[in-house]
């Protein structure tokens, strides 16, 4: 080791899903030890793995237990170790052809081997089945995937069961989807609304993780075509000029929250938008305008004494790398580090689809990450 290299180590308990490790640097070398796989020697295990930036993104060289079970060597050629620098927005992954989308509530998107996970955010384009039919109404809206049915299907939060939606099928030309790489760098963000349940309180569903906290002060922007314009912060008929805001009173899940606005007499939200209206159509939105909180996140058994903000705000919460802040504050969520993927061990060109670099659920994994001073060549 020389004077300016960087080293870090840590451990986590695998959930079976790709694991993001935030670091104060982007490593050029990573070592993994799956302690559980060492302790319980069994087929499909990957007890250790090594990665160097020279291998390329998504690769790894691994120790692998074959079906013997006998310890062997193998490689991971996709879904291995990759690094990330989440510092700028509006970056996207590769586009993929959409085979179809169900005209249902919620809509299910069919893409061959999409590779997405719950929590990934995607946007779509095209979505015409014919010149005048299809689902162009949802093109350009960012959706955080709500469920993954299988390798070829995922679910988005949108009610496409209305008469103006026509299911997409047979891979329409130009119907594409791509991943939004870093959708949550600054939080909480402006959100597209996909459902509103009116009543003494108002329940709101968003297409992305809303990232609101209880006590968040919010404003609505509902264009006339979508119905519930009475939620809009302006104009205010009683105190002209003063915006009308609501407050989040409970978080239902990462896509749904309840606010204190009594919307019993308000117009029903209308998501059934005609295709002909799509050019130039503005989407209904809800955004943070402040909060009424006075403290930060509450300590938990595994958290720091003064926990930093965590997003999303219902389940699968991940801490930002900054210090504590008032709940509901505008925060910076930029980060860098590496990702341990779910890629399979490939032994002599044959992939073992039951082996995963990130291990199985409940596996305990230790990692070391390095940024070396000298790299040759």
């Amino acid at each position: 080791m020389t004077e300016y290299s960087r080293m870090a180590k840590g451990s986590f308990t695998s959930t079976g899903a790709a694991q993001i490790i935030n670091l104060p640097f982007v490593p050029d070398r990573v070592n993994l030890t799956n302690y559980t796989s060492y302790a319980a020697f069994a087929a499909h295990g990957i007890p250790w793995a090594n990665w160097s930036s020279a291998m390329g993104q998504g690769f790894a060289a691994v120790g692998y237990v074959n079906t013997g079970p006998v310890l062997d060597t193998a490689v991971v050629i996709s879904g291995g170790i990759s690094t990330f620098q989440a510092g700028l927005m509006l970056q996207y992954g590769p586009t993929q052809q959409i085979i179809g989308i169900t005209a249902a509530n919620p809509a299910v998107v069919n893409v061959t081997a999409h590779g997405y996970s719950i929590g990934d955010t995607v946007i779509m384009q095209g979505l015409y089945q014919s010149a005048t039919t299809g689902m162009p109404q949802i093109a350009g809206i960012p959706f955080t995937i709500e469920a993954v049915g299988d390798a070829d299907h995922f679910t988005i939060n949108w009610n496409a069961s209305g008469s103006n939606y026509t299911a997409l099928s047979a891979s329409p030309t130009g119907a594409l989807v791509k991943k939004v790489l870093y959708p949550f760098l600054y939080l909480p963000e402006d959100n597209v609304v996909w459902r509103i349940t009116t009543g003494n309180t108002t329940t709101v569903g968003t297409t992305m993780y809303h990232n609101f906290e209880v006590g968040q002060e919010i404003a609505f922007r509902i264009p006339a075509a979508w119905g519930t314009t009475q939620l809009n912060s302006l104009p205010n008929p009683l105190i002209p000029g003063q915006p009308i805001y609501g407050y989040v009173t409970s978080i239902t899940d990462n896509w749904t929250f309840v606010c204190n606005i009594n919307s019993s007499a308000y117009t029903t939200f209308n998501v059934n938008q005609p295709v002909a209206n799509v050019p130039g159509q503005t989407f209904p939105q809800v955004l943070s305008v402040g909060d009424i909180n006075t403290g930060g996140n509450i300590i938990t058994a595994t958290s720091a004494l003064y926990p930093p903000p965590q997003f999303p705000t219902s389940t699968n919460r991940v801490s930002t790398i900054n210090g504590p802040a008032i709940r509901g504050a505008f925060v910076n969520n930029t980060s860098q580090g590496f990702i341990i993927g779910t890629g399979n061990a490939v032994f002599q060109t044959t992939a073992d689809t039951s082996s995963h670099l990130v291990g199985a659920n409940a596996d305990v994994i230790y990692w070391q990450a390095f940024l070396d001073d000298i790299t040759m060549p």
């Binding site: 586009t95 979505l127 791509k178 003063q242 159509q281 802040a325 509901g328 505008f330």
Partner: protein, 322 residues
């Protein structure tokens, strides 16, 4: 007869460094220009808090002759919080570089670090605005996309929205003068947009767009100002946010941020912003081989008047040059 030429008596030193460095292409940084700026005090915690009083109900109902006072009002306020974050980067330069290179390495690296720091400041504000401000999709253009390209009605719509929200304009108008080809400029909000849309703006000449060069006087025009449409003056930059291929038809989507005063606030902490740090090789290892040059700054940002800002999303009508 023998002629001595550079083939048999070449110069001892083949190269000579030109006296001036070449310029570094650097985008115009518009976002910091339009921000309110405040400094959070030292020992002030992690989070900057803003308070905005709410309007009281105007007493439009007469008292009558009962002699009874009307009920008192309860004053209320809105609170906006923003968490401070810290940023920095630097270079480690071996003393042999400083000793042996002909150009002033430390000088130009310092300059580049300073520019990188300023650019980071602007990009952070840019991306925050993309994330946090609400959006209006342009619908006044003719390309049938969602959003469409910008039509003059989009400028009118967004200015009307901000006016209806009682936002404060940045600029007072410029009165018309008796100068050929010029026209008066309205009091205006700013639009921060991409240089890639300049040809679209030129296409609106005669329809509402007035080039900055056609202002009666451009004394108040900012260096990045391209022109104006109705109540909006347009500042362009090559670093303005563009979502590539994100429209209905797969075209680029431009985030044209239209805002009034106090819409965005930039926050530093106790003048911590913008520190350039040089450490002599003396402070490195036992042989004192390496100097370091670095910059760091503290920054937070908040939308402090959500009613005074909109991202007007649009596509582009004209083709791009390459």
């Amino acid at each position: 007869m023998s002629i001595t030429n550079t083939g048999n008596l070449g110069p001892l030193i083949l190269q000579s460094l030109a006296p001036a460095m070449l310029y570094v292409p650097t985008p115009t940084m518009n976002y910091i220009t339009v921000c309110d700026k405040i400094s959070m005090p030292a020992n002030g915690g992690t989070t900057c808090r803003f308070m905005r009083p709410r309007a009281l109900t105007p007493p439009t109902i007469q008292l009558g002759n009962s002699g009874i006072d009307p009920p008192a009002q309860i004053p209320q306020r809105d609170i906006i919080d923003a968490q401070m974050a810290f940023f920095g980067t630097g270079c480690i330069i071996n003393e042999q570089v400083i000793l042996q290179d002909q150009e002033g390495v430390l000088a130009w690296v310092s300059e580049r670090l300073a520019v990188a720091m300023r650019q980071a400041e602007d990009l952070i504000l840019r991306d925050y605005i993309v994330s946090a401000a609400s959006e209006i999709n342009a619908g006044g253009g003719s390309n049938g996309d969602n959003p469409t390209n910008l039509g003059v009605s989009d400028f009118s719509l967004v200015a009307t929205t901000l006016d209806t929200n009682n936002a404060y304009k940045f600029m007072s108008g410029i009165e018309g003068m008796d100068r050929f080809g010029t026209g008066p400029v309205r009091s205006a909000y700013f639009m921060l947009t991409s240089t890639e849309l300049q040809s679209d703006f030129d296409g609106l000449t005669g329809l509402g767009f007035l080039s900055q060069w056609n202002y009666p006087t451009n004394a108040s025009a900012l260096p990045a100002e391209y022109g104006s449409v109705y109540n909006i003056r347009i500042l362009t930059s090559s670093e303005a946010p563009v979502a590539r291929g994100a429209s209905l038809k797969g075209n680029d989507v431009y985030y044209n941020t239209v805002l009034g005063k106090q819409a965005i606030t930039h926050i530093n902490q106790d003048g911590y912003s913008m520190n350039l740090i040089y450490r002599d090789p003396y402070y490195s290892g036992m042989l004192a081989q390496n100097a370091t040059l670095a910059v760091k700054f503290a920054q937070a940002q908040a939308i402090t008047q959500d009613t005074a800002i909109r991202n007007l999303l649009s596509t582009r009508l004209t083709n791009l040059g390459v």
